[in-house]
Symmetry: C2
C-alpha cells in the first residue's frame, strides 16, 4: 500500500560509533514478532528530545522527560540507554502505568549497571490497557545479548505497529576533517499529527554536541520535518523524537552560529525529512502522497494553519483517494482554517502545474481534464497563494481510503 516507499536496504544503513542496538521478541501483544528494542549509548553521549503536546501524555513519556531533565542537570549521569516497546502504549494507565515505566528503567539499569534515571523508556501501541511489564522485563536480557552497531534495520522493524514497512535511513556529512555518520529510524502509521514530535523517531550521530546546542538543534530540525506531517490529524499520547549525539568521534559542535552547525543541521534535516515522509508514504491506507504548500501568508503559523486545514479535511482526502478533481473542497478547507481576516478574493490555487483558482474563483481557463490528469498521479503538489505576506509553510500528508477505515476498525482484533 505504501506510496513510492524508498525501502531501506540493510547494508546501506550505516553504523554510528557510540550506539548499539539490541532487539527481542518479548510477546508484549503478539507472539513471534520483534517488539522490544534497546539502544545502548556510549558514556560520552548527549540526548535531546521533543515530545507530544497531548495532555494525556503516556507514562513512559513522562518518565523519559523527567530522566532527560535530570541527566541535563546532573553532570556525570548521562543517558545510557533507550528502551522501546510496541504493542502497548502504556497511556491512560494512571499510577500503575508510571510504576511499570519506572520498573522497566530499573530492570534495564540493573542489567547495564547504571542508575534508573540514565534510562529513557518509550512505548507505542494500544492506549488504556495495562502494560504487561513482566514480559517486557523478561525480554531485556535477550535484547542486550544481541546488542550491535549493525542492527539498525532490525531496530526499525522492532518499533513497527500498523506500519507496513520499516523506516530507516542514513546520511554522511563532511564536517572539517571528519566524516560524520547519521542514522535514524521512525514509525507511524496512524494517530499522526505531530505537535512538537512524531510518533517515534530516533536519530544518532557520532559527534560531540553539548546539551544546550543539541536542544536547539532538535527543535529546528523537528520544525522542518516531523512537525510538517499529518496522517489523520489525531495527535498521539506517545509521540517522541529523540536526537542522540554519541560523542564517539573528535568532531565537536559547540556553537549554533558556526558553519559546522549549519552543515550538520542540513544533513540532519534531510534525514529527518526522509524519515518523516516515510511515515506519510506508509500512512494507514495511503494511496497518494500529497504536499500542501501555502505561500505568501502573513506568518508561518498562519500558513501551517491553512495547510493543516487542507491536509486534515476528510472531504479533501477522500477526493484525492478517488482521483476526483472536486477542488471546491480545497476552497472549503482554506475558508474554514480560521483566518478571520482572510481575503478570499486574493487567493490563487495550483494543482502541480495547473492553475485552478485565480483571485478566489475558478480560473477562466481551467479545464477539468487538466485537474483530472494531475489527480491520477500518486504524488501531488497543492499550492495555495494567499497573497498577503511573504511567509510560507509545507505539510506532507496522504489520502483517506477504504483501507484507512478497515485498518482502524480492525486494529485491535
Amino acid at each position: 500500500m505504501a506510496v513510492n516507499f524508498p525501502l531501506p536496504i540493510p547494508s546501506q544503513l550505516l553504523p554510528v560509533p557510540g550506539i548499539q542496538l539490541g532487539f527481542a521478541q518479548a510477546g508484549i501483544r503478539k507472539a513471534d514478532r520483534k517488539d522490544l528494542l534497546v539502544m545502548a549509548l556510549a558514556p560520552t553521549a548527549t540526548v535531546a528530545g521533543v515530545f507530544t503536546l497531548n495532555r494525556f501524555c503516556a507514562a513512559p513519556v513522562q518518565v523519559a522527560k523527567a530522566h532527560l531533565a535530570s541527566a541535563a542537570l546532573i553532570s556525570g549521569m548521562p543517558i545510557r540507554a533507550l528502551v522501546i516497546n510496541t504493542g502497548n502504549a502504556n497511556a491512560g494507565t494512571g499510577l500503575p502505568g508510571l510504576v511499570a515505566a519506572n520498573s522497566t528503567c530499573s530492570a534495564l539499569a540493573t542489567l547495564l549497571n547504571c542508575e534508573d534515571s540514565q534510562i529513557l523508556p518509550f512505548s507505542t501501541g494500544v492506549i488504556l490497557e495495562p502494560l504487561p511489564v513482566e514480559r517486557l522485563i523478561a525480554g531485556l536480557p535477550a535484547a542486550i545479548e544481541n546488542l550491535s552497531e549493525d542492527n539498525w534495520y532490525s531496530a526499525a522493524e522492532a518499533i513497527m505497529t500498523t506500519d507496513t514497512q520499516p523506516k530507516a535511513a542514513s546520511r554522511q556529512v563532511q564536517i572539517g576533517s571528519h566524516t560524520v555518520t547519521l542514522t535514524g529510524i521512525s514509525k507511524g502509521a496512524g494517530m499522526i499529527m505531530p505537535n512538537m514530535a512524531t510518533m517515534l523517531g530516533f536519530i544518532a550521530m557520532n559527534v560531540k554536541v553539548s546539551q544546550p546546542v543539541l536542544d536547539t538543534m532538535i527543535r529546528q530540525v523537528a520544525e522542518l520535518s516531523f512537525n510538517c506531517i499529518s496522517i489523520d490529524g489525531d495527535t498521539s499520547t506517545n509521540d517522541a523524537f529523540m536526537l542522540i549525539a554519541t560523542g564517539a568521534s573528535d568532531c565537536e559542535i559547540s556553537d549554533t552560529e558556526s558553519s559546522d552547525y549549519a552543515a550538520l543541521v542540513g544533513a540532519l534535516s534531510s534525514l529527518s525529512q526522509e524519515l518523516a515522509k516515510m511515515i506519510v508514504r506508509d500512512g494507514e491506507g495511503a494511496t497518494k502522497f500529497m504536499t500542501i504548500q501555502v505561500e505568501q501568508g502573513a506568518s508561518i503559523p498562519e500558513c501551517r494553519q491553512v495547510a493543516y486545514s487542507i491536509a486534515n479535511s476528510p472531504l479533501v482526502k477522500t477526493a484525492f483517494f478517488a482521483s476526483d478533481p472536486n477542488l471546491g473542497r480545497l476552497l472549503m478547507a482554506i475558508g474554514k482554517a480560521g483566518i478571520a481576516d482572510l481575503d478570499t478574493g486574493m487567493i490563487d490555487v495550483y494543482l502541480d502545474d495547473v492553475w485552478v483558482v485565480k483571485h478566489g474563483g475558478r480560473h477562466p481557463d481551467y479545464q477539468e481534464s487538466d485537474g483530472q490528469r494531475v489527480m491520477q498521479q500518486n504524488e501531488i503538489l497543492t499550492r495555495v497563494v494567499l497573497a498577503r505576506g511573504d511567509a510560507s509553510a509545507k505539510v506532507w500528508t496522504c489520502d483517506f481510503s477504504h483501507d484507512y477505515v478497515s485498518i482502524n476498525a480492525d486494529y485491535r482484533s
Copy 2:
C-alpha cells in the same frame, strides 16, 4: 443507512399560515429530481439568519446577508421570498457567481412583483463549478405555479443532496390564547461542522416577531441545536439557518424577557434539535448516533472544544464504526483538544452506564466486555467529566464508515 431516523410523515407536517412553498425540477445538475424550491412569504413576515463562518462564503450567502441587512434597515421592504437550489453551491465562483445569484433574485422578484433585495437566495451542491443560472431561472415559473401551504414534505425533498432522507418536523405551542405552529426543514449530509449555522435549515412560524427579537432568538436556538453537530468537521461554504416569523396571526412576541418568548424558544429549540439530529442520523455513511457530553468544564467553549475534538477524531469514529471499545482513543482526543492546563489526573469517562476511566486512568473495575456491550448499540452516550468547573456542552455526531469514504469518493460521478 440512517440511524433510527424518524421518517417525516407528510400529513403530520403542519402548514404555517403566511408561507407557501413551491418546487420544480430545474435540471440544475441531474434530470428528474426536485432541485429548486421557492418559499413565498406574507408581507407581514420578518426573517433572521445565521450563516457559515467559512471565509469562502458562497455568492448566494453573500447576497442573502446583504438583502437581509437592507430589509432590516428599510421599512416597508420586507423579505418576500427565499429561493433554494441544489446541485450546485455557487461557491468559489468569483464575480460571475455573484452575478448569477443576483440574476436569480432579479428573475424571481419580477415574477413576484417585488424588488430584488426582497429575495434571499441559497445554493447547495458542488463547489467551484459555474451555476447554470439560466436553467434555474427557467424553473422558477413552475415552482411559483405550485406554491402551496401544504408542500413542506416536497420542500424537504427539494433541498436534498447526498441526504438519503428528507428532513422535516412540526411543533405546536400554546402562547396565551394562540396555538402557534412551527414547521421546519433541513439538509445535510456531509461537510458538516456548523459554525453559527448548519448546511441548510429553514423554520417558519405564524407569529409576529420584530427583527431585533428574532435576531436574538435565532442565535439562542442555533447555539443549542445546529451548532451542536458534526459529521466530519468540515465547515461548508454555504451554511445557513433561517428563521421566518410569518406574522400571519395576532400572536406577537415583543420582549425577550417574557414568558411567551421563553415558551416559543422552548418549542423552537425542540424543533431545531430534531432537525439538527436528523442531519446527524442521516450523516454520510452513518451507522451510529453518538452523543458526546462534556461536564464540569471551566467554560462552555472549553467543553465544546473537547466534545468536538472527540466528535471529529477519525480514530474515535472508526472505533465506534467497528463497535470496538478501543477507548484509549477517547483519551487521545481529549488530550489533543488544546486545553493547555488540563489536569488529566482528574478526568472521568463514562460510556453510557459504564465507568471506563477514573482519575485519568483505566477504572480498576472496568471490564472490556462492558465496553463491548455498549459499543454494540447504535446510539451511544459518551460522558467526559473534566472536574474543573460547572460548565457543560453536548455535541451530536456519527461514526466514520466505509460508506463515508465511498460516498465522498463517488459524490460527483
